[in-house]
């Protein structure tokens, strides 16, 4: 089991928004949901490797900025064309105002 990595401060992300987080040569997307929970997924869309953090968060959905592929960022489930491959998700916890991600 790998360590928890600090991604950002909890206040760095607005509610219902997303932020890019790069670590160890990889890129992730960190989300804050409308009900104020935090989530993390791989940072690149499974369709054409576009950074999802430039996309729009609406409720549980992140929409790719390029081709509007949609994923549920809480589960990683692909939600419609053109994406068909699910997004990998990572455990997240908030500790002392920091958002920590467990990068597998």
């Amino acid at each position: 089991m790998s360590d928890w990595v600090e991604a950002c401060a909890a206040g760095d992300i607005d509610e219902e928004d997303v932020m890019r987080f790069d670590h160890g040569g990889r890129t992730f997307a960190i989300y804050r949901s409308p009900d104020d929970d935090y989530f993390a997924t791989d940072g690149l869309c499974t369709h054409e490797k576009v950074h999802l953090a430039d996309g729009l968060v609406m409720d549980d959905i992140i929409e790719c900025p390029k081709h509007n592929g949609r994923f549920n960022y809480k589960t990683g489930a692909a939600r419609g064309a053109p994406v068909c491959v699910n997004l990998k998700t990572y455990p997240v916890k908030v500790d002392a105002g920091k958002v920590l991600v467990q990068i597998g």
Partner: protein, 405 residues
């Protein structure tokens, strides 16, 4: 269910029929030898790679798993509407209950004498590969037409160090659908990358000796090139529909549910014109990837009897060098413009109708800088919102907050 045309639209429609639970036979007929594939990469920098590959919409395995019969390298030659049958170029006959025409569009031909093998068009993967073979360093490429296809190919050609001249007969590039302010940024990006852009001059004559193309512009300038790429628009492929007696009006005319003048025949994507609800039913034809995808899915629903009307807002993008342009809505619907700067040179122009309704938004910037706000604008357009111009113009006001209003 029979689908004629195995591009983005037809491919998506076939998959959508299965997604919707339809378990009868689905046949997808395409005239290319490939699996259904995405066309947008064909004109973009992906073509600059050493061995461009098809980006398939569905693999063979998926087609098999979903029981979609894909007949390739074959054309549909006639529709017998009374008998509900389509005849194919290999002589076979396909019966249908519902038929979808997703025949797409084909490049508009340059109506001039003198064109030869060094004068080419782009539509298919085979076209793209043939063009790719000429885009090497030191080669001279003439691009006829300063539209998206031509400009994207110009960018790809520059990436491979070819010398590129773009010739546009109109006073500026991207006259159709792109505001001058944004077209100017794209123009400057091309100039900075070394592209020679000539606007406001038609071509007086063309000669092609099989090795080179010799162009003479209206103003007298002579340009010789190893390849001339002609990108002057596209025309809908309607021959099959017209011969079957379906109504044609700048494409196969369909209603809001994508049904043609024959209730058992639908049309979707580049080949059809349809009433655009967001602009009061204005009849339009769109040549865009997203539209092909959305209409393919909608046609599938309605072939199964859903009776759902088209409600989407047109959306379009282009990538050139590091710049990405996105446009939601049709900017010619607007009378007034409000600019919103997003930083890093990125900005959006909001196009408002006389009555203050947001009707379109055009954005440009590095990477995907404008994507999120264009997407929000698209939703505002869909809601027929009348946001305050000051709010649209101010970076301090989040567009998402306008959506809730």
């Amino acid at each position: 269910m029979v689908i004629i045309g195995a591009g983005e639209c037809g491919g998506r429609a076939a998959l959508a029929l299965r997604d919707l639970g339809y378990d009868g036979p689905v046949t997808l007929v395409g005239d290319e030898p490939h699996l259904p594939y995405e066309r947008p990469p064909l004109s973009k920098e992906a073509m600059a790679s050493d061995a461009p590959e098809i980006k398939a919409i569905a693999s063979d395995a998926v087609l098999v798993e979903r029981s979609i019969r894909h007949i390739h390298s074959v054309q549909a030659v006639a529709i017998d509407r009374a008998a509900h049958r389509v005849r194919l170029s290999d002589g076979s006959v396909l019966p249908y209950d519902k038929l979808l025409l997703a025949t797409g569009s084909t490049p508009r031909k340059l109506p001039m004498p003198g064109l030869g093998v060094r004068c080419v068009y782009l539509r298919t993967f085979a076209d793209a590969l043939a063009i790719r073979g000429h885009l090497g360093a030191g080669n001279r490429i003439a691009v006829i037409g300063g539209g998206f296809i031509g400009l994207e190919l110009a960018a790809a050609a520059r990436k491979l160090c070819a010398a590129v001249t773009v010739i546009e007969a109109q006073p500026r590039i991207l006259m159709r659908g792109v505001p001058a302010e944004i077209a100017e940024i794209i123009h400057q990006a091309h100039v900075a990358e070394g592209v020679d852009i000539v606007c406001g001059q038609g071509i007086a004559s063309i000669a092609d000796d099989g090795r080179q193309v010799y162009l003479t512009l209206a103003g007298g300038r002579e340009i010789s090139a190893d390849l001339a790429i002609i990108g002057i628009g596209a025309v809908p492929v309607t021959g099959l529909a017209a011969e079957a007696g379906l109504t044609i009006d700048n494409g196969i005319a369909v209603d809001a549910e994508l049904r043609s003048s024959d209730p058992d025949i639908f049309a979707a994507g580049d080949c059809c014109s349809f009433p655009l609800a967001v602009y009061g039913g204005r009849r339009v034809r769109l040549e865009a990837w997203r539209n092909a995808q959305e209409q393919g899915a909608l046609a599938a629903k309605n072939m199964l009897g859903a009776g759902e009307a088209h409600a989407a807002v047109p959306w379009f993008w282009s990538d050139q060098y590091g710049l990405s342009l996105q446009i939601a809505g049709l900017s010619d619907e607007g009378r007034n413009t409000v600019r919103r700067d997003l930083g890093d040179g990125a900005f959006i122009l909001f196009h408002l109708a006389e009555d203050g309704r947001l009707v379109a938004a055009s954005g440009i910037g590095p990477g995907n800088a404008v994507a999120r706000d264009i997407r929000l604008a698209e939703m505002l357009i869909g809601k027929r919102a009348k946001p305050a111009p000051e709010a649209l113009g101010s970076q301090a006001v989040k567009l998402k907050s306008l959506l809730a209003a």
